[in-house]
């Protein structure tokens, strides 16, 4: 009850993207990532931005939020773009001792900036529009065929869903212990790095203790219910593909094809 706990960044809603089957969203996210990587020409990049804009509109997630997800990655993106500006060969537009900037370098650097931003913004959409439980269920279904190869899909999904289930609990516990130690005068903001790390011992140790205790209790509870593996277990909420999913898949395939076409027929000037 300390504060509202949102693990991940799921924003509940009923937009087109929210209503898609999580399996569709996982697969299409991969399609989108590939599309980002193959968009190399100026025209296909413009098209990519258009697709991203369309997806954001469909998701009803405020654009501000989507780009907030990009913010922590800005240093990495800028660094990657800068490196490329300096290291790609072409006609120099600027030359001073060992620094050489080429026209092609500038273009590659700029496209990287756009592509990486689009990549992260696009991937953030799935986490904004899909609850963690839905994601876990979708992943389990997608991995189900691996059961033939004796891959422990059920155990994996059980572990995954327990982890997801307890993340909010542990986050709550974390908040509670922080508050409790703050009430005893704990200070996390002053002092040097060593002191700051030291200040977190009184939080981390109790957190570990209670996590272990909870794990033991859970193990007992699971054993008392004679749980074993997943053979023959059914789901309460069965995932079903709808017409919307088919439409989304068609849309993404078309967008993917267009990107390839733009690359082939309107290649870049460089």
């Amino acid at each position: 009850m300390t504060r509202d706990i949102t693990v991940g960044q799921f924003l509940p809603g009923h937009s087109l993207l929210h209503r898609l089957d999580p399996r569709t969203k996982i697969v299409l996210t991969f399609v989108f990532i590939i599309q980002v990587f193959i968009s190399r020409s100026a025209l296909s990049l413009c098209f990519l931005i258009f697709v991203l804009g369309f997806l954001i509109t469909c998701s009803h997630v405020p654009a501000r939020k989507v780009f907030r997800a990009v913010r922590p990655m800005i240093p990495v993106i800028v660094f990657t773009a800068l490196i490329n500006i300096f290291y790609v060969d072409g006609d120099p537009v600027f030359h001073y001792s060992f620094i050489r900037i080429t026209d092609k370098g500038l273009f590659v650097g700029f496209t990287l900036l756009v592509r990486l931003t689009a990549l992260i913004a696009g991937c953030s959409l799935i986490t904004y529009t899909t609850s963690l439980n839905a994601l876990a269920a979708g992943l389990e279904q997608l991995l189900a065929p691996l059961k033939r190869f004796h891959f422990p899909v059920n155990e994996l999904s059980m572990t995954l869903s327990i982890t997801l289930r307890f993340l909010p609990t542990i986050a709550e516990e974390f908040d509670r212990i922080i508050d409790a130690q703050k009430a005893r005068g704990a200070d996390f903001s002053n002092g040097n790095l060593i002191k700051k790390i030291h200040a977190y011992f009184p939080i981390i140790l109790p957190l570990f203790m209670s996590s272990f205790r909870r794990a033991f209790e859970l193990t007992n509870a699971i054993e008392c219910r004679c749980y074993q593996g997943g053979n023959g277990r059914t789901k309460m909420n069965v995932l079903r593909l709808s017409r919307l999913d088919v439409q989304a898949i068609v849309f993404f395939c078309a967008a993917f094809g267009l990107s390839i076409a733009f690359n082939l027929f309107f290649p870049s000037f460089f």
Partner: protein, 287 residues
Amino acid sequence: MAIIELRTISFRYGAGTPFEKQALQNISLSVDRGDFIGIIGHTGSGKSTLIRHFNGLLRPDSGQVLVNNEDIWKNPRQIRSVRFQIGLVFQYPETQIFEDTVAQDIAYGPKNMGLDQETINQRVLEALHFVGLDDSYLDRNPFRMSGGEMRRVAIAGVMAMKPAVLVLDEPTAGLDPEGRRNLLKHLEQYRRKTNTAIIMVSHSMEDIAEHVQRVLVLDKGKTAFEGSVPSVFAHADELMQLGLDVPQMTKVLLGLKAKGYSVDTSAVTMDQAEHELLRLFERKDHE
């Protein structure tokens, strides 16, 4: 003079998100030295949110929290010093213990205050005695102690800061009746000896009736009732509607009254009720 005063504080969780929730609305409370105040309310009524405002763990959206007549948020950088004056003991405080020995864990608060070692040692001993543990506990490992003992060590850890107000969130939750009585007895003695004000959140109406002078009843973040124990428990029907209860004894007396006996239903503890019932029987004998 009030030692801590809440002036019409309101608080919302997650302002500006879809999860926004009004947690507190216009709560006022004034606490003097040596007061024993109870806070009751249904789960989710805002009790835990409220007590986090006493020592500045949460900042109210509107309204003021005054400690010694000064707004604690006047200088947010100094908020830590407020936490030494208003001691806060959370629910299941034994889960916050982290040191190897009882003495070290109790010393955590005083150490954060920047006291010298001698004063710390003295305060640790004092606090240990307040919760009814003897010197032999000092070097024991708290993780090998019983839940009740750990709870007392955790409470001692807050008492060692010598706060002017001690706030406890359900200090007796999960204790057996013996541990419960014991803890409350020691809290009462501590209050008398040090004149510290105690604010206690509890679900046990008996504990409230037995120990507390004034009660604040919360419902959906608002003050439902506030006043002396008998005056609050006089609203038995309304309290039941809020999902709360009244002490067993109050129920007995209310039942008698409903059957037409003239009893004073303001008796809330066993002793008072006994007195009241004896009076009733005596009167019967005379008739």
